[in-house]
Amino acid sequence: MKRIFDAQLLGPAIALIVIATLVALTTDRFLNPGNLSNLSLQVSIVALIAIGSTIVIITAGIDLSAGSMVALLTMLLAEMLKFMGLPLPLAILLVLGCGLTLGLTNGVLTAYLRIPSFITTLAGLIAFRGLALLFNNGSPIFSLDPNLEPLFYGSLLGIPLPFYYLVFFYGLAAVVMNYSKLGREIYAIGGNPSAAALSGINVRRVQTYAFAIAGFMTAVGAILMSARLNSGSPNYGQTLELQAIAAAVVGGASLAGGRGNVLATLIGSLTIVVVQNALNLNAVPTSVQNIVLGMIILAAVGVDMWRNELSSKISALFSLSSTKQRGA
């Protein structure tokens, strides 16, 4: 367990506790059970997508396509349920498969055709939303399967279902990233792709898998989005990819690759959602909320940069003192 709950969790956790305390002190309704429950529902979609974003970031890539992919996948799900009359379980499986395939496409373009992931997924960001508009003349599709909404709003033993999804997927991701060969290889190619290739790791394949995982998690998020709003819309998921990336970075993932912790990303997602929730409770307009989200991303990347600088300074100091010791 030491491996999963390592020191990387500490900084983001402290940040979350400080922010949550500040919010609780300044906003009375924040600690209402109703609000907290709403908060956990709100965090679930971003947090599930952020698992994929984090894994891609650890490989030193980036996935900008998640938000648009959510829109496309909610439209696909709505189309299947409303117009094609597919049973819900089959439609869900198909949407998961579509997410996986879109992620694989991002991966193949990046890893095998060597187009930088920023570009492949930027193309996805633009194109997927365009594809979403092809369905139902670009209009949202409402009132889907009656069994869809309970997937989001239902609860088990008094705890909302999304909580269980978070536990399941974060648990799985943490185990894969810390204990599986694939997880180790993902960290390796992000840390040093050249050394990974010379160590016999199939760098391209691992890179592709990372994007496929991201596509799959985006599909999970899309299904919950549809369930939450009982609809599909080409407008869903805007800036969701950025919130997911912000969650990863707030959780300490390094955009340079090789460093990051999925559980810390959960903390990062919570931090962002708590801030958004506080703004909502204080009736701050959406425009300002967007400005704040921008600031959070900026601050998080800034902290990432300073942290690198700081740790390299520490390492320089360390190596100097070790030379001195040897000399003495």
Partner: protein
């Protein structure tokens, strides 16, 4: 010609006559695990060409980096006309009168010749815009003064390498520098171009520049420089005026007297052939290379930088695909298309560039050691981490790696510890044929000895080693046989005991001369 050369080289140092223009006093620069410059001092005089010489890794590059503001010294002073000078950045160094022509050019290929010459200080006109006419006029004047026939408005990237080099030098000249540093300026030039450059340098000398000249081509050094400083192991072993400027004297000083004392070589070579390479050819500089390696043998690859030694290693290891040639391991033909195949066939590559091709800076020792052998600790897709911990602890103890390696990420360790961790990676794979490319580069003496002992231990177990090293002493002492590599092919294999250091250095400079004749033809 010879007489004239000797006349031009006074044995007494100029320092007794004049005050130095630039002076370096007791500069110290440490890198993790190695002191790259250990109290280096030298004086540069107006109107003098000063040769800075030494073998690879002697500290020349470090000194140049400090003088051109790329890296700050840890201790020591740099003085100009008797006053202390701090060089905070390359721009700062340039502003204070030091122009450096680096081995890798710093020109921008998409800009014109004139734009490159005045890069960073374009002449401005009335309204703050660039005065293009003035810029081209001044560039033309500089080029004319150099007697170089180049159009200032040509795109630099379209020029030949030699012409680009001249643009670099024009850039240095146009900045009115009082010290010009040339790092291997002739590496890319043919004979006539070198002559031209030398003429130019002599004129710059007459104009009162102090010139610091770094080159591996000792024959041309002999022709052009007025005085030499020779570095070895980060220290000045011959200050200006202490060496007669002749190839033989310089080589002797560069090599040093204490050759062959720290190499605990044991001979474990057996008759049995383990690896046989015939006619290896790759797109990246290996052409028709043939050699074989015996069990328990260290086969050294000798040759200069860029002769194709590393490229042979990359071809063997499946990094650069083989266009032609065949490879047999234990007598059986093998096809190696990727490092994965190579590892499966029992090969290992400790690459030349530890930082870029070896280390996983985000892992502690454990992840670094098992990286090439993950399959062996994987069951049903999951890693057996207890085994990894056990193996790591064993290698840390056995190779005397710093115990901190267990918990600290590897980028925080010294070069020697890093190299030991990478060696452990390939020991963990249990490879039979280990390729060591510059295994002791940038690590301290203690770690070097550990590497040598490891080589002995491996060969005693019957494993074979291909050793690539620019450290000639090391190569001679640790190899059983040495294959000399030139232009990507093996031109001969000799028993190491039948070769001397001088043979190797001469062979290297022979190739330089050979290249020279080729480019002239």
């Amino acid at each position: 010609m010879k007489a004239e050369r000797i006349q031009a080289k006074p044995m007494t140092s100029i320092s007794e006559i004049k005050e130095p223009l630039w002076e370096v006093i007791d500069l110290v620069k440490r890198y993790p695990g190695v002191v790259a410059n250990d109290h280096v001092s030298l004086k540069l005089f107006e109107g003098s060409i000063h040769g800075l010489l030494g073998e690879n890794g002697c500290g020349k590059s470090t000194l140049i980096k400090m003088l051109s503001g790329v890296q700050p010294p840890d201790a020591g002073r740099i003085r100009c006309r008797g006053e202390d000078v701090q060089l905070h950045s390359p721009t700062d160094a340039r502003a204070k009168g030091i122009a450096t022509v680096f081995q890798e050019f710093s020109i921008v290929p998409s800009l014109t010749v004139a734009e490159n010459i005045f890069l960073g200080r374009l002449p401005t006109g009335k309204f703050g815009g660039v005065d293009w006419a003035a810029m081209n006029r001044e560039a033309k004047a500089v080029l004319a003064e150099m007697e170089v026939d180049l159009d200032p408005e040509d795109i630099t990237g379209d020029l030949s390498v030699a012409e680009q080099q001249l643009v670099e030098i024009a850039k240095a000249l146009a900045s009115d520098a009082s010290m010009i540093i040339l790092d291997e300026p002739t590496a890319a030039l043919g004979l006539s171009e070198i002559d031209h450059l030398h003429k130019l340098l002599r004129r710059m000398r007459e104009n009162g520049c102090a010139i610091l000249y770094v080159s591996h081509r000792l024959d041309e050094v002999e022709r052009i420089v007025d005085e030499v400083t020779i570095l070895r192991g980060g220290q000045v072993v011959r200050a200006s005026g202490e060496t007669e400027i002749s190839v033989d004297n310089i080589v002797a000083a560069m090599i040093g007297e204490d050759v062959g004392e720290h190499y605990p070589k044991t001979n474990n070579s057996r008759e049995e052939i383990v690896l046989e390479a015939r006619g290896l050819t790759t797109a990246k500089g290996v052409s028709d290379a043939s050699f074989s390696v015996q069990a328990g043998e260290v086969l050294g690859l000798g040759g200069v930088l860029g002769s194709g030694r590393t490229e042979i290693a990359l071809g063997l290891f499946g990094v650069d695909p083989l266009l032609a040639g065949e490879l047999k391991i234990h007598g059986k033909p093998v096809k190696i298309k990727s490092p994965m195949d190579a590892i499966r066939a029992g090969m290992a590559l400790v690459s030349e560039n530890r930082k870029f091709d070896g280390l996983f800076p985000n892992f502690a020792a454990g992840g670094n050691i098992t990286a090439a052998g993950l399959s062996s600790i994987t069951r049903a897709g999951f890693l057996h981490l207890a085994t990894e911990d056990k193996v790591t602890a064993e290698y840390i103890r056995k190779l005397e790696i710093s115990p901190q390696a267990d918990s600290k990420t590897i980028n925080l360790l010294s070069g020697g510890n890093q190299q030991k961790v990478i060696l452990a990676r390939w020991l963990f794979c249990n490879a039979d044929i280990l390729i060591f490319d510059e295994p002791t580069q940038g690590i301290d003496v203690g770690a070097k000895l550990a590497v040598y002992r490891l080589i002995n231990e491996l060969t005693a177990q019957g494993k074979s080693i291909i050793l690539i090293s620019s450290d000639h002493d090391e190569l001679l002492a640790m190899s059983d046989r040495i294959a000399t590599v030139q232009h990507g092919t093996v031109i001969g294999i000799t028993k190491a005991s039948e070769l001397s250091h001088v043979d190797l250095v001469k062979a290297s400079s022979d190739e330089a001369t050979h290249k020279l004749q080729e480019s002239a033809a």
